[in-house]
Protein backbone atom coordinates (compact mmCIF):
# COMPACT_ATOMS: atom_id res chain seq x y z
CA UNK A 1 0.00 0.00 0.00
CA UNK A 2 2.95 2.29 0.70
CA UNK A 3 4.49 1.34 -2.61
CA UNK A 4 1.26 1.95 -4.45
CA UNK A 5 0.85 5.42 -3.01
CA UNK A 6 4.52 6.18 -3.65
CA UNK A 7 4.09 5.14 -7.28
CA UNK A 8 1.03 7.35 -7.66
CA UNK A 9 2.95 10.22 -6.09
CA UNK A 10 5.83 9.68 -8.49
CA UNK A 11 3.43 9.75 -11.43
CA UNK A 12 1.84 12.99 -10.23
CA UNK A 13 5.25 14.61 -9.70
CA UNK A 14 6.31 13.52 -13.20
CA UNK A 15 3.12 14.98 -14.63
CA UNK A 16 3.77 18.33 -12.95
CA UNK A 17 7.43 18.39 -13.99
CA UNK A 18 6.54 17.57 -17.61
CA UNK A 19 3.83 20.20 -17.77
CA UNK A 20 6.24 22.76 -16.30
CA UNK A 21 8.87 21.93 -18.93
CA UNK A 22 6.46 21.83 -21.86
CA UNK A 23 4.27 24.69 -20.60
CA UNK A 24 4.36 26.63 -23.90
CA UNK A 25 3.26 23.54 -25.84
CA UNK A 26 0.41 22.28 -23.68
CA UNK A 27 -0.97 25.45 -22.16
CA UNK A 28 -4.16 26.36 -24.07
CA UNK A 29 -3.65 30.13 -23.88
CA UNK A 30 -1.05 32.75 -23.07
CA UNK A 31 -1.09 32.93 -19.24
CA UNK A 32 -0.93 36.74 -19.11
CA UNK A 33 -3.39 37.52 -21.89
CA UNK A 34 -6.59 39.19 -20.69
CA UNK A 35 -9.43 37.94 -22.83
CA UNK A 36 -12.30 40.21 -23.82
CA UNK A 37 -14.71 37.32 -23.33
CA UNK A 38 -12.80 36.25 -20.20
CA UNK A 39 -15.11 38.15 -17.86
CA UNK A 40 -18.87 38.18 -17.55
CA UNK A 41 -20.76 41.32 -18.51
CA UNK A 42 -20.72 42.33 -14.85
CA UNK A 43 -16.92 41.96 -14.86
CA UNK A 44 -16.82 38.79 -12.75
CA UNK A 45 -14.59 35.76 -13.47
CA UNK A 46 -16.08 32.98 -15.62
CA UNK A 47 -16.73 29.57 -14.05
CA UNK A 48 -15.06 26.46 -15.52
CA UNK A 49 -16.64 25.84 -18.92
CA UNK A 50 -15.97 24.68 -22.48
CA UNK A 51 -13.50 27.29 -23.70
CA UNK A 52 -11.80 28.02 -20.38
CA UNK A 53 -11.54 24.55 -18.85
CA UNK A 54 -10.85 25.76 -15.32
CA UNK A 55 -12.48 29.17 -15.71
CA UNK A 56 -10.88 32.61 -15.73
CA UNK A 57 -9.40 34.80 -13.01
CA UNK A 58 -10.26 38.31 -11.87
CA UNK A 59 -8.52 39.89 -14.88
CA UNK A 60 -10.07 37.52 -17.42
CA UNK A 61 -6.99 35.34 -17.83
CA UNK A 62 -7.21 31.58 -18.36
CA UNK A 63 -6.74 29.79 -15.03
CA UNK A 64 -5.49 26.50 -16.51
CA UNK A 65 -2.72 28.28 -18.44
CA UNK A 66 -1.72 30.21 -15.34
CA UNK A 67 -1.62 27.00 -13.31
CA UNK A 68 0.61 25.29 -15.87
CA UNK A 69 3.04 28.21 -15.91
CA UNK A 70 2.72 28.49 -12.13
CA UNK A 71 4.05 24.94 -11.83
CA UNK A 72 7.31 26.29 -13.27
CA UNK A 73 7.60 28.86 -10.48
CA UNK A 74 6.84 26.36 -7.73
CA UNK A 75 9.32 23.83 -9.07
CA UNK A 76 12.09 26.34 -9.76
CA UNK A 77 11.80 27.83 -6.28
CA UNK A 78 11.52 24.31 -4.84
CA UNK A 79 14.64 23.07 -6.60
CA UNK A 80 16.83 26.12 -5.94
CA UNK A 81 15.74 26.62 -2.33
CA UNK A 82 15.91 22.98 -1.45
CA UNK A 83 19.14 22.41 -3.38
CA UNK A 84 20.88 25.17 -1.44
CA UNK A 85 19.41 23.96 1.87
CA UNK A 86 20.49 20.36 1.26
CA UNK A 87 24.02 21.31 0.17
CA UNK A 88 24.55 23.74 3.06
CA UNK A 89 22.90 21.44 5.61
CA UNK A 90 24.81 18.34 4.53
CA UNK A 91 28.17 20.13 4.43
CA UNK A 92 27.71 21.72 7.84
CA UNK A 93 26.32 18.58 9.46
CA UNK A 94 29.08 16.44 7.96
CA UNK A 95 31.86 18.79 9.04
CA UNK A 96 30.48 19.17 12.56
CA UNK A 97 30.04 15.42 12.91
CA UNK A 98 33.47 14.60 11.51
CA UNK A 99 35.44 17.28 13.34
CA UNK A 100 33.56 16.95 16.65
CA UNK A 101 35.41 18.84 19.38
CA UNK A 102 34.93 22.54 19.99
CA UNK A 103 34.22 23.54 16.42
CA UNK A 104 31.67 20.79 15.91
CA UNK A 105 30.02 21.71 19.16
CA UNK A 106 29.92 25.37 18.22
CA UNK A 107 28.27 24.56 14.89
CA UNK A 108 25.63 22.46 16.60
CA UNK A 109 24.90 25.15 19.20
CA UNK A 110 24.35 27.47 16.26
CA UNK A 111 21.73 25.10 14.86
CA UNK A 112 20.06 25.10 18.31
CA UNK A 113 19.87 28.84 17.94
CA UNK A 114 18.38 28.61 14.46
CA UNK A 115 15.75 26.20 15.79
CA UNK A 116 14.58 28.87 18.23
CA UNK A 117 13.80 31.33 15.43
CA UNK A 118 10.18 31.86 14.50
CA UNK A 119 11.15 30.74 11.00
CA UNK A 120 8.07 31.77 9.06
CA UNK A 121 8.03 35.22 10.67
CA UNK A 122 11.68 35.66 9.69
CA UNK A 123 11.03 34.48 6.13
CA UNK A 124 8.06 36.81 5.73
CA UNK A 125 9.99 39.79 7.09
CA UNK A 126 13.05 39.19 4.92
CA UNK A 127 11.19 38.62 1.69
CA UNK A 128 8.92 41.60 2.39
CA UNK A 129 11.80 43.98 2.93
CA UNK A 130 13.94 42.83 0.02
CA UNK A 131 11.80 43.50 -3.00
CA UNK A 132 10.92 39.90 -3.63
CA UNK A 133 12.17 38.01 -6.66
CA UNK A 134 12.22 34.30 -7.35
CA UNK A 135 15.83 34.02 -6.25
CA UNK A 136 15.36 35.98 -3.01
CA UNK A 137 12.34 33.88 -2.08
CA UNK A 138 14.33 30.71 -2.74
CA UNK A 139 17.31 31.90 -0.70
CA UNK A 140 15.15 33.01 2.24
CA UNK A 141 13.49 29.59 2.28
CA UNK A 142 16.82 27.78 2.20
CA UNK A 143 18.10 29.95 5.05
CA UNK A 144 15.29 28.55 7.15
CA UNK A 145 15.38 24.95 5.95
CA UNK A 146 19.02 23.85 6.11
CA UNK A 147 19.01 23.42 9.88
CA UNK A 148 16.93 20.26 10.04
CA UNK A 149 19.13 18.47 7.48
CA UNK A 150 22.32 19.58 9.22
CA UNK A 151 21.15 18.06 12.51
CA UNK A 152 20.18 14.72 11.00
CA UNK A 153 23.43 14.46 8.99
CA UNK A 154 25.42 15.40 12.10
CA UNK A 155 24.05 12.50 14.16
CA UNK A 156 24.55 10.04 11.30
CA UNK A 157 28.09 11.20 10.59
CA UNK A 158 29.06 10.68 14.20
CA UNK A 159 27.84 7.11 14.18
CA UNK A 160 29.48 6.32 10.83
CA UNK A 161 32.78 7.99 11.71
CA UNK A 162 33.14 5.68 14.72
CA UNK A 163 32.72 2.45 12.76
CA UNK A 164 35.72 0.20 12.51
CA UNK A 165 36.18 0.37 8.78
CA UNK A 166 36.53 4.15 8.98
CA UNK A 167 39.10 3.80 11.77
CA UNK A 168 40.92 1.22 9.65
CA UNK A 169 40.99 3.51 6.63
CA UNK A 170 42.36 6.28 8.80
CA UNK A 171 44.97 3.90 10.18
CA UNK A 172 46.07 3.10 6.65
CA UNK A 173 46.87 6.77 6.26
CA UNK A 174 43.93 8.05 4.24
CA UNK A 175 43.55 11.83 4.28
CA UNK A 176 40.51 13.40 5.93
CA UNK A 177 39.35 14.48 2.52
CA UNK A 178 39.40 10.91 1.24
CA UNK A 179 37.72 9.50 4.34
CA UNK A 180 34.89 12.00 4.02
CA UNK A 181 34.26 11.76 0.29
CA UNK A 182 34.94 8.06 -0.24
CA UNK A 183 33.93 6.42 3.01
CA UNK A 184 31.42 8.59 4.85
CA UNK A 185 29.50 10.54 2.24
CA UNK A 186 28.27 7.47 0.30
CA UNK A 187 26.62 6.16 3.47
CA UNK A 188 24.87 9.48 3.99
CA UNK A 189 23.39 9.62 0.51
CA UNK A 190 20.19 7.68 1.32
CA UNK A 191 19.43 10.13 4.14
CA UNK A 192 20.21 13.06 1.89
CA UNK A 193 17.87 11.65 -0.75
CA UNK A 194 15.03 11.23 1.73
CA UNK A 195 15.43 14.73 3.13
CA UNK A 196 15.71 16.22 -0.36
CA UNK A 197 12.35 14.70 -1.24
CA UNK A 198 10.65 15.70 2.01
CA UNK A 199 12.29 19.14 1.82
CA UNK A 200 10.71 19.91 -1.54
CA UNK A 201 7.29 19.49 0.08
CA UNK A 202 8.19 22.01 2.81
CA UNK A 203 9.61 24.39 0.23
CA UNK A 204 6.55 24.24 -2.01
CA UNK A 205 4.36 25.05 1.02
CA UNK A 206 6.59 27.93 2.15
CA UNK A 207 6.74 29.48 -1.31
CA UNK A 208 2.96 29.24 -1.58
CA UNK A 209 2.51 30.83 1.85
CA UNK A 210 4.88 33.71 1.09
CA UNK A 211 3.25 34.30 -2.29
CA UNK A 212 -0.20 34.12 -0.72
CA UNK A 213 0.76 36.89 1.70
CA UNK A 214 1.97 38.92 -1.27
CA UNK A 215 5.62 38.88 -0.24
CA UNK A 216 6.69 35.94 -2.38
CA UNK A 217 6.75 35.68 -6.14
CA UNK A 218 5.05 38.81 -7.49
CA UNK A 219 2.32 38.86 -10.13
CA UNK A 220 2.17 38.92 -13.16
CA UNK A 221 4.56 35.93 -12.95
CA UNK A 222 2.09 33.20 -12.00
CA UNK A 223 2.79 31.02 -8.97
CA UNK A 224 0.24 28.79 -7.30
CA UNK A 225 0.43 30.88 -4.15
CA UNK A 226 0.04 34.25 -5.82
CA UNK A 227 -2.90 33.07 -7.96
CA UNK A 228 -4.71 32.59 -4.64
CA UNK A 229 -3.36 35.92 -3.34
CA UNK A 230 -4.69 37.79 -6.38
CA UNK A 231 -8.09 36.15 -6.37
CA UNK A 232 -8.81 35.78 -2.66
CA UNK A 233 -11.38 38.57 -2.62
CA UNK A 234 -13.46 36.45 -5.03
CA UNK A 235 -13.41 33.34 -2.87
CA UNK A 236 -17.10 33.56 -2.05
CA UNK A 237 -18.41 34.13 -5.59
CA UNK A 238 -15.68 32.28 -7.51
CA UNK A 239 -14.32 29.65 -5.10
CA UNK A 240 -12.60 27.64 -7.86
CA UNK A 241 -10.05 30.44 -8.21
CA UNK A 242 -8.83 29.68 -4.71
CA UNK A 243 -9.48 25.97 -4.36
CA UNK A 244 -8.10 24.67 -7.68
CA UNK A 245 -4.62 26.17 -7.14
CA UNK A 246 -4.96 25.17 -3.48
CA UNK A 247 -5.60 21.58 -4.50
CA UNK A 248 -2.55 21.69 -6.79
CA UNK A 249 -0.35 22.86 -3.91
CA UNK A 250 -1.67 20.21 -1.50
CA UNK A 251 -1.34 17.40 -4.07
CA UNK A 252 2.23 18.32 -4.99
CA UNK A 253 3.33 18.62 -1.35
CA UNK A 254 1.47 15.42 -0.48
CA UNK A 255 3.17 13.55 -3.33
CA UNK A 256 6.63 14.60 -2.20
CA UNK A 257 5.80 13.70 1.41
CA UNK A 258 4.46 10.24 0.51
CA UNK A 259 7.40 9.58 -1.80
CA UNK A 260 9.90 10.69 0.86
CA UNK A 261 8.22 8.52 3.47
CA UNK A 262 8.27 5.47 1.20
CA UNK A 263 11.93 6.11 0.30
CA UNK A 264 12.79 6.26 4.00
CA UNK A 265 11.17 2.88 4.52
CA UNK A 266 12.97 1.37 1.54
CA UNK A 267 16.36 2.77 2.40
CA UNK A 268 16.26 2.18 6.12
CA UNK A 269 15.46 -1.50 6.73
CA UNK A 270 15.16 -0.99 10.49
CA UNK A 271 12.03 1.09 9.92
CA UNK A 272 10.37 -1.45 7.64
CA UNK A 273 7.36 -3.31 8.91
CA UNK A 274 7.13 -1.27 12.09
CA UNK A 275 4.11 0.76 11.18
Amino acid sequence: MKRKSALLSLLFIALIILSAIFAPLISPFNPSEQFKDGLTLQGAPIAPSGKYLLGTDLLGRDLLSRLIYGARTSLIVGIIANGVAVIVGTTIGLLAGFLRGRLGNLIMRFTDLMMAFPALLLAITLSAIFSPSLLIVALVISMVNWVQIARVIYTQTISIAEREYVLATKGLGATNNRVITRHILPHLLPTVLVYTTLGIATTVLLEATLSFLGVGVRPPTPSWGNIIFENQTYFITAPWLVFIPGLAIVLLALSFNLLGDALRDELDPTQRGLS
Binding site: A116, F117, P118, L121, L122, I129, L205, T209, V250
Partner: protein
Protein backbone atom coordinates in the same frame (compact mmCIF):
# COMPACT_ATOMS: atom_id res chain seq x y z
CA UNK B 1 18.58 16.64 37.78
CA UNK B 2 18.84 20.12 39.32
CA UNK B 3 22.17 20.56 37.61
CA UNK B 4 20.73 19.49 34.27
CA UNK B 5 17.87 21.98 34.61
CA UNK B 6 20.30 24.74 35.47
CA UNK B 7 22.44 23.89 32.42
CA UNK B 8 19.45 23.94 30.15
CA UNK B 9 18.32 27.28 31.57
CA UNK B 10 21.70 28.89 30.92
CA UNK B 11 21.70 27.43 27.44
CA UNK B 12 18.23 28.87 26.88
CA UNK B 13 19.43 32.28 27.98
CA UNK B 14 22.32 32.25 25.51
CA UNK B 15 20.07 31.06 22.71
CA UNK B 16 17.81 34.04 23.31
CA UNK B 17 20.79 36.42 23.27
CA UNK B 18 21.85 34.83 19.98
CA UNK B 19 18.38 35.16 18.48
CA UNK B 20 18.22 38.82 19.46
CA UNK B 21 21.66 39.50 17.96
CA UNK B 22 20.98 37.82 14.62
CA UNK B 23 17.50 39.33 14.26
CA UNK B 24 18.83 42.78 15.13
CA UNK B 25 21.64 42.56 12.61
CA UNK B 26 19.39 41.18 9.86
CA UNK B 27 16.74 43.83 10.34
CA UNK B 28 19.13 46.74 10.51
CA UNK B 29 21.37 45.73 7.61
CA UNK B 30 18.37 45.44 5.31
CA UNK B 31 17.90 47.99 2.54
CA UNK B 32 14.84 49.59 4.13
CA UNK B 33 15.69 52.93 5.75
CA UNK B 34 13.30 53.58 8.64
CA UNK B 35 14.22 57.27 8.84
CA UNK B 36 13.02 57.79 5.25
CA UNK B 37 9.86 55.82 6.04
CA UNK B 38 9.01 58.01 9.02
CA UNK B 39 9.88 61.30 7.37
CA UNK B 40 7.66 60.59 4.39
CA UNK B 41 8.34 61.12 0.70
CA UNK B 42 8.44 64.91 0.64
CA UNK B 43 10.93 65.29 3.50
CA UNK B 44 14.20 67.13 3.01
CA UNK B 45 17.50 65.31 3.60
CA UNK B 46 17.96 67.45 6.73
CA UNK B 47 14.73 66.17 8.27
CA UNK B 48 15.69 62.59 7.50
CA UNK B 49 19.08 63.18 9.04
CA UNK B 50 17.62 64.63 12.25
CA UNK B 51 15.15 61.76 12.59
CA UNK B 52 18.02 59.35 12.14
CA UNK B 53 19.94 61.08 14.91
CA UNK B 54 16.90 61.19 17.18
CA UNK B 55 16.40 57.42 16.87
CA UNK B 56 20.10 56.74 17.34
CA UNK B 57 20.33 55.21 13.87
CA UNK B 58 23.47 57.23 13.07
CA UNK B 59 25.51 55.31 15.64
CA UNK B 60 27.50 52.19 14.72
CA UNK B 61 25.41 49.03 14.54
CA UNK B 62 27.07 47.36 17.52
CA UNK B 63 26.49 50.40 19.72
CA UNK B 64 22.84 50.37 18.65
CA UNK B 65 22.57 46.69 19.56
CA UNK B 66 24.26 47.26 22.89
CA UNK B 67 21.85 50.09 23.74
CA UNK B 68 18.91 47.95 22.67
CA UNK B 69 20.00 45.11 24.95
CA UNK B 70 20.57 47.42 27.91
CA UNK B 71 17.03 48.71 27.49
CA UNK B 72 15.70 45.21 26.96
CA UNK B 73 17.16 44.03 30.25
CA UNK B 74 15.16 46.81 31.90
CA UNK B 75 12.04 45.52 30.18
CA UNK B 76 12.02 48.20 27.51
CA UNK B 77 11.51 46.96 23.95
CA UNK B 78 11.78 50.43 22.42
CA UNK B 79 9.23 52.58 20.65
CA UNK B 80 7.31 51.85 17.49
CA UNK B 81 8.49 54.09 14.63
CA UNK B 82 5.02 54.80 13.34
CA UNK B 83 2.55 54.16 16.16
CA UNK B 84 4.30 56.41 18.70
CA UNK B 85 3.80 53.95 21.51
CA UNK B 86 5.91 51.51 23.46
CA UNK B 87 6.49 48.19 21.71
CA UNK B 88 6.18 46.41 25.05
CA UNK B 89 2.71 47.88 25.66
CA UNK B 90 1.59 47.04 22.11
CA UNK B 91 2.72 43.44 22.43
CA UNK B 92 1.19 43.01 25.89
CA UNK B 93 -2.16 44.26 24.64
CA UNK B 94 -2.05 41.67 21.81
CA UNK B 95 -0.67 38.74 23.78
CA UNK B 96 -4.00 37.76 25.36
CA UNK B 97 -5.80 36.89 22.11
CA UNK B 98 -2.77 34.96 20.86
CA UNK B 99 -2.34 32.89 24.01
CA UNK B 100 -6.04 32.09 24.30
CA UNK B 101 -6.10 31.05 20.63
CA UNK B 102 -3.02 28.91 21.26
CA UNK B 103 -4.81 27.17 24.12
CA UNK B 104 -7.90 26.31 22.08
CA UNK B 105 -5.89 25.41 18.97
CA UNK B 106 -3.74 22.91 20.85
CA UNK B 107 -6.82 21.56 22.60
CA UNK B 108 -8.48 21.00 19.20
CA UNK B 109 -5.34 19.33 17.83
CA UNK B 110 -5.21 17.02 20.82
CA UNK B 111 -8.87 16.03 20.65
CA UNK B 112 -8.78 15.32 16.90
CA UNK B 113 -5.27 13.86 16.84
CA UNK B 114 -5.53 11.56 19.85
CA UNK B 115 -8.93 10.27 18.81
CA UNK B 116 -7.74 9.54 15.26
CA UNK B 117 -4.54 7.94 16.57
CA UNK B 118 -6.31 5.62 19.01
CA UNK B 119 -8.93 4.60 16.44
CA UNK B 120 -6.23 3.92 13.84
CA UNK B 121 -4.29 1.77 16.33
CA UNK B 122 -7.37 -0.27 17.23
CA UNK B 123 -8.25 -0.85 13.57
CA UNK B 124 -4.63 -1.42 12.60
CA UNK B 125 -4.27 -2.51 8.96
CA UNK B 126 -7.96 -2.08 8.24
CA UNK B 127 -9.41 0.40 5.77
CA UNK B 128 -10.21 2.89 8.54
CA UNK B 129 -6.58 2.90 9.69
CA UNK B 130 -5.29 3.43 6.15
CA UNK B 131 -7.77 6.23 5.55
CA UNK B 132 -6.83 8.01 8.77
CA UNK B 133 -3.12 7.73 8.06
CA UNK B 134 -3.51 9.11 4.52
CA UNK B 135 -5.59 11.87 6.08
CA UNK B 136 -2.74 12.63 8.47
CA UNK B 137 -0.39 12.96 5.51
CA UNK B 138 -2.81 15.35 3.82
CA UNK B 139 -2.98 17.60 6.87
CA UNK B 140 0.81 17.75 7.04
CA UNK B 141 0.92 18.67 3.34
CA UNK B 142 -1.71 21.39 3.44
CA UNK B 143 -0.62 24.99 3.93
CA UNK B 144 -2.34 26.91 6.72
CA UNK B 145 -3.86 29.54 4.48
CA UNK B 146 -5.63 27.02 2.25
CA UNK B 147 -7.17 25.15 5.17
CA UNK B 148 -8.15 28.49 6.74
CA UNK B 149 -9.94 29.60 3.58
CA UNK B 150 -11.55 26.18 3.14
CA UNK B 151 -12.87 26.15 6.72
CA UNK B 152 -14.17 29.71 6.30
CA UNK B 153 -15.82 28.78 3.01
CA UNK B 154 -17.56 25.68 4.32
CA UNK B 155 -18.59 26.74 7.83
CA UNK B 156 -19.04 30.49 7.48
CA UNK B 157 -20.06 31.07 3.85
CA UNK B 158 -21.90 27.89 2.81
CA UNK B 159 -23.35 26.66 6.10
CA UNK B 160 -23.42 30.04 7.83
CA UNK B 161 -22.89 28.49 11.25
CA UNK B 162 -20.12 30.83 12.32
CA UNK B 163 -19.15 34.45 11.64
CA UNK B 164 -16.47 35.06 8.97
CA UNK B 165 -14.20 37.05 11.26
CA UNK B 166 -14.25 38.96 14.50
CA UNK B 167 -13.03 38.62 18.02
CA UNK B 168 -14.49 38.80 21.50
CA UNK B 169 -17.16 36.10 21.79
CA UNK B 170 -16.48 32.41 22.37
CA UNK B 171 -18.00 31.62 18.95
CA UNK B 172 -15.15 33.48 17.24
CA UNK B 173 -12.68 30.92 18.51
CA UNK B 174 -14.32 27.99 16.75
CA UNK B 175 -13.09 28.41 13.19
CA UNK B 176 -9.45 29.43 13.83
CA UNK B 177 -9.13 26.70 16.46
CA UNK B 178 -10.74 24.15 14.13
CA UNK B 179 -8.34 25.14 11.32
CA UNK B 180 -5.28 24.75 13.51
CA UNK B 181 -6.77 21.61 15.03
CA UNK B 182 -7.12 19.95 11.62
CA UNK B 183 -3.61 21.01 10.60
CA UNK B 184 -1.89 19.86 13.78
CA UNK B 185 -3.90 16.68 14.32
CA UNK B 186 -2.00 14.65 11.71
CA UNK B 187 1.23 15.04 13.61
CA UNK B 188 -0.34 13.94 16.91
CA UNK B 189 -2.35 11.08 15.42
CA UNK B 190 0.73 9.43 13.87
CA UNK B 191 2.67 9.52 17.13
CA UNK B 192 -0.38 8.45 19.13
CA UNK B 193 -0.99 5.52 16.79
CA UNK B 194 2.54 4.13 17.01
CA UNK B 195 2.74 4.78 20.75
CA UNK B 196 -0.58 2.97 21.24
CA UNK B 197 0.61 0.02 19.16
CA UNK B 198 3.79 -0.18 21.27
CA UNK B 199 1.79 -0.23 24.47
CA UNK B 200 -0.71 -2.79 23.21
CA UNK B 201 2.18 -5.21 22.63
CA UNK B 202 3.21 -5.09 26.30
CA UNK B 203 2.76 -7.95 28.72
CA UNK B 204 0.56 -6.08 31.18
CA UNK B 205 -1.99 -5.52 28.42
CA UNK B 206 -2.04 -9.24 27.70
CA UNK B 207 -2.54 -9.85 31.42
CA UNK B 208 -5.42 -7.43 31.50
CA UNK B 209 -7.02 -9.14 28.52
CA UNK B 210 -6.45 -12.57 30.08
CA UNK B 211 -8.27 -11.39 33.19
CA UNK B 212 -11.24 -10.78 30.98
CA UNK B 213 -11.16 -7.01 30.60
CA UNK B 214 -13.17 -5.80 27.63
CA UNK B 215 -11.47 -4.10 24.68
CA UNK B 216 -12.93 -0.77 25.79
CA UNK B 217 -11.61 -1.20 29.32
CA UNK B 218 -8.16 -2.31 28.12
CA UNK B 219 -7.82 0.73 25.87
CA UNK B 220 -9.23 3.36 28.22
CA UNK B 221 -8.10 2.14 31.63
CA UNK B 222 -4.84 0.38 30.85
CA UNK B 223 -3.29 1.42 27.54
CA UNK B 224 -4.22 5.08 27.17
CA UNK B 225 -2.37 6.31 30.24
CA UNK B 226 0.98 4.99 29.05
CA UNK B 227 0.45 5.62 25.36
CA UNK B 228 -0.19 9.29 25.99
CA UNK B 229 3.20 9.96 27.62
CA UNK B 230 5.12 10.89 24.44
CA UNK B 231 2.30 13.24 23.52
CA UNK B 232 2.89 15.46 26.55
CA UNK B 233 6.39 16.37 25.39
CA UNK B 234 5.04 17.09 21.91
CA UNK B 235 2.79 19.81 23.31
CA UNK B 236 5.93 21.77 24.22
CA UNK B 237 7.24 21.57 20.68
CA UNK B 238 3.80 22.41 19.37
CA UNK B 239 3.86 25.78 21.17
CA UNK B 240 6.85 26.63 19.00
CA UNK B 241 5.12 25.45 15.84
CA UNK B 242 2.04 27.48 16.73
CA UNK B 243 4.11 30.62 17.28
CA UNK B 244 5.89 30.07 13.97
CA UNK B 245 2.69 30.02 11.94
CA UNK B 246 0.77 32.67 13.79
CA UNK B 247 1.13 35.42 11.21
CA UNK B 248 -0.83 33.52 8.56
CA UNK B 249 -3.77 32.38 10.68
CA UNK B 250 -4.19 35.71 12.45
CA UNK B 251 -4.12 37.65 9.21
CA UNK B 252 -6.63 35.36 7.46
CA UNK B 253 -9.08 35.40 10.39
CA UNK B 254 -8.43 39.01 11.38
CA UNK B 255 -7.39 37.89 14.85
CA UNK B 256 -6.03 40.80 16.92
CA UNK B 257 -2.98 38.98 18.30
CA UNK B 258 0.76 39.47 18.00
CA UNK B 259 0.84 37.75 14.60
CA UNK B 260 -1.40 40.42 13.13
CA UNK B 261 0.65 43.10 14.90
CA UNK B 262 3.78 41.68 13.28
CA UNK B 263 2.15 41.45 9.86
CA UNK B 264 1.06 45.11 9.99
CA UNK B 265 4.53 46.10 11.18
CA UNK B 266 6.19 44.13 8.37
CA UNK B 267 4.15 45.97 5.76
CA UNK B 268 5.17 49.34 7.18
CA UNK B 269 8.75 48.32 7.98
CA UNK B 270 8.19 49.20 11.64
CA UNK B 271 11.36 47.45 12.77
CA UNK B 272 11.07 47.77 16.60
CA UNK B 273 7.73 45.93 16.52
CA UNK B 274 9.05 43.16 14.23
CA UNK B 275 12.05 42.80 16.51
CA UNK B 276 9.83 42.67 19.61
CA UNK B 277 7.43 40.08 18.24
CA UNK B 278 10.32 37.93 16.99
CA UNK B 279 11.86 37.97 20.46
CA UNK B 280 8.59 37.19 22.23
CA UNK B 281 7.92 34.31 19.82
CA UNK B 282 11.45 33.01 20.36
CA UNK B 283 10.87 33.06 24.12
CA UNK B 284 7.74 30.92 23.63
CA UNK B 285 9.56 28.52 21.30
CA UNK B 286 12.53 28.11 23.62
CA UNK B 287 10.35 27.63 26.70
CA UNK B 288 8.21 25.13 24.81
CA UNK B 289 11.31 23.13 23.83
CA UNK B 290 12.56 23.32 27.40
CA UNK B 291 9.22 21.98 28.62
CA UNK B 292 9.44 19.13 26.09
CA UNK B 293 12.91 18.17 27.33
CA UNK B 294 12.13 18.40 31.01
CA UNK B 295 8.62 17.03 31.26
CA UNK B 296 9.25 13.37 30.38
CA UNK B 297 11.17 12.39 33.53
CA UNK B 298 8.50 14.03 35.67
CA UNK B 299 5.61 12.13 34.22
CA UNK B 300 7.36 8.86 33.41
CA UNK B 301 9.16 7.23 36.37
CA UNK B 302 10.84 4.72 34.01
CA UNK B 303 12.91 7.48 32.41
CA UNK B 304 13.76 8.92 35.83
CA UNK B 305 15.12 5.62 37.08
CA UNK B 306 17.49 5.18 34.16
CA UNK B 307 19.49 8.30 35.03
Amino acid sequence: MARYILNRLTQTFFILIGVSFITFMLLYILPADPAVQIAGRSATPDTVESIRRELGLDKPLFVQYFNYMINLLQGDLGRSYLQKSEVGTLILSRLGPTISLMFFAILAELILGLFAGVVAAIYRGKKLDKGLMIGSFVTVSAPQFIVSILVLYVFAVKLGWFPIGGYGKPIHYVLPALTLGILGSGWYSRVMRSSMLDVLRQDYIRTARAKGASQKRVIIRHALKNAILPIVAMIGLDIGIFMGGIVVVESVFGWPGIGQLAWQAIQRVDIPIIMGVTLVSAVFIVLGNLFADLVSPFIDPRIRLKK
